[in-house]
Amino acid sequence: MRSAARHPGRERGEMSVSRRAFLTGLALPALLAPGCRRSGSRQTTLRFWNGFTGPDGITMLRIVRRFNAQNPDVNVLVQRTDWATYYNKLFVAGLFGRAPEVFVLHASNILRFARARFLHPVDDLISGPDGLDSHDFDANVWQEVEVDGRHYGVPLDVHILGMYFNRQLFRQAGIQSPPAERAGFLEALRRLTRHPAGGPDQWGFVFTNLSSNVYTVMRQYGGAFFTEDFGRCVMNDARNVAALQFCVDLIRRERVAPPPESFDAWVGFLQGKVATAFEGIYMLADLQKQTELDFGGAPVPQIGPEPAVWANSHTLCLRAGMSGAELQAAWRFVRYLSNNSLDWAAGGQIPVRKSLRQTARFHAMPIQSAFARQIPYVSYLPRVTFTFEFQDELNTAIEKALRGSASPQQALDTATANVNAVIARESKSV
């Protein structure tokens, strides 16, 4: 929960594991197992850990079940844990040599897990006889899983930020199509905001996830966060300050967005009181449950001089130290998930494979394909080993600025100093 609202690196909408869902996750593959043993050959058991505790988990289970049925010599056991505690468990398991054979990492976490030597590089497997075409991944996504010249996982999806909008409110305001650039966006928000006597009852925009939203605008302004060698934090870059100022102005000057609350601001969009929000593709399943809400999806408008949008990727990773049949089985499973990631997309995701996105089936998913148009310019969070400390500082700075308790310059200056203190501390340990 907390991580959900404060770390854009982990999705929201997946609040807790229901016990039944969890048990089903464990039980389903196990039920299939006896049938598979008939082949007589020795069966390889693979543990597959992930944080898909929402509707996405059901989708994933279905795919795994199919894999188990088609591969009698492999038995995949799925364990799903809420993202908020997932990394703790995975890390402790890995530390004491009990890591699962296959597990999901967010791309933003690849660096720290690779540095801790938890991951098996996939380069040989990708280029091997049963490999995958690495050119089928977008270059900017593929490079996110690379550490020191090696790739440490197979990206499964790109969960990208996009603009959800309320069609009904757009119609009422006489707006034909979702705005795509700054002036149109501001104009639309002004028309979509209503402030009658008793106070505002309709907002043009709402900040649901502060950091993914503001990070997107900062990247559009071309702001930098670290020096090339990551030796110093430069988050108080003038372009970041200007981007943050734009966001502050939406609240304070334009008054088209309410002051930031918490994640629950999203409820305002669900209730039809807010016309637009920048949220991840993973919120689609949540929206589709709202039968009365007439919503659409579009790329995030280009507010700054460059196109950019926050994203992250679920990445399939292999435990370090595997070999032989176990490694082959694990790779076969990873490859299967990647090849079948259109099924994954149907549950509210965007597959990372270009060839899959060109299929008619993907084009028939309107929101996914609208959001997917942004993939060429997605922007991942900076890759640092102290990723959570960095994200906390970024979050706090954004929060202070949007709430008006510090100017964008002051807030980012403080955050920069704090992150530089972390860098100094980290460099001492090496």
Binding site: N88, A116, R117, P258, E261, V267, G268, E389, R403
Partner: protein, 305 residues
Amino acid sequence: MGVATESAAEPGGTRSLAPARGRALSGYLYLLPYLILFGVFLVLPLLYGLGLSLFRWDMLSTVPARFIGTGNYSEALGSAYFWKALGATFRFVVMAVPLTILLGLLIAVGIEAVPVRRQALYRAAYFLPTLITVTVAGLLWRWFFNSEFGLFNALLAPLGIKVPWLTDTAWAMRSVVIMTLWWTVGGPVVIFLAGLQQIPSHYHEAAALDGANGWQRFRHITLPLLRPVMVFVVIMNVIGAFQVFGQTFMITQGGPELSTRVLVQYIYETAFNNYRMGYAAAMSWLLFALIAGFSLAQVRLLRER
């Protein structure tokens, strides 16, 4: 067994040494299962943590743990985040403990005044929220508190009041305390009620005959006789309040602007997001020392003179 030995020894009036020793031994034997669990799951990890707090151990780094003496402690004492978190914890303790005790006592006195047949119903009603997990209770109250779309502000809207329950740095902790009162007051109510029922009614009857009014009886009979119960409730509440985590984590996630990030949450983040185990252990021990100090002071202050 122990009881049997005792009753057998007493009529004679002469307690020989052997049965006493047997009694002590069997007592310890009874304690043994608990002592083993207590030792393995509480004392050992505690000591392990104490050792850990003297090391720099970043689980993510491939650099092995390094002994740095009191380095982690001095880092904590020099960290603005540590003091901010401690401040948030203190604000919670100072607000939540007195309110819980007062409200708990008030409700218990109220319940005691109703006919015995109906007491169980009220007791259960007040105790019920305690049984809900913090996850559910927190989620629920977060929705109640939402200033734009929440229940409370919807109820207050006709009066023209809009409270920034969770959006204001001053209000957020108050809101957490309000939720905590609802969630935890049942415990003290049940204990106070048990304490009240132990007070023999003839004390009150005698005082009433002497012309003491209700308040005087409460002040001079009930309160003094409730003292042992009070000591217990206060100490347990203070210990619990210092370890507050679930409510703030669920309702505010430490925000806005870290105003409700309490020490336990900061420790949790240090250990399990940033994997700085030594530093987290040191802060845990600082919190432990603080709680132990407060508890001892309370025992001294509240002990019967």
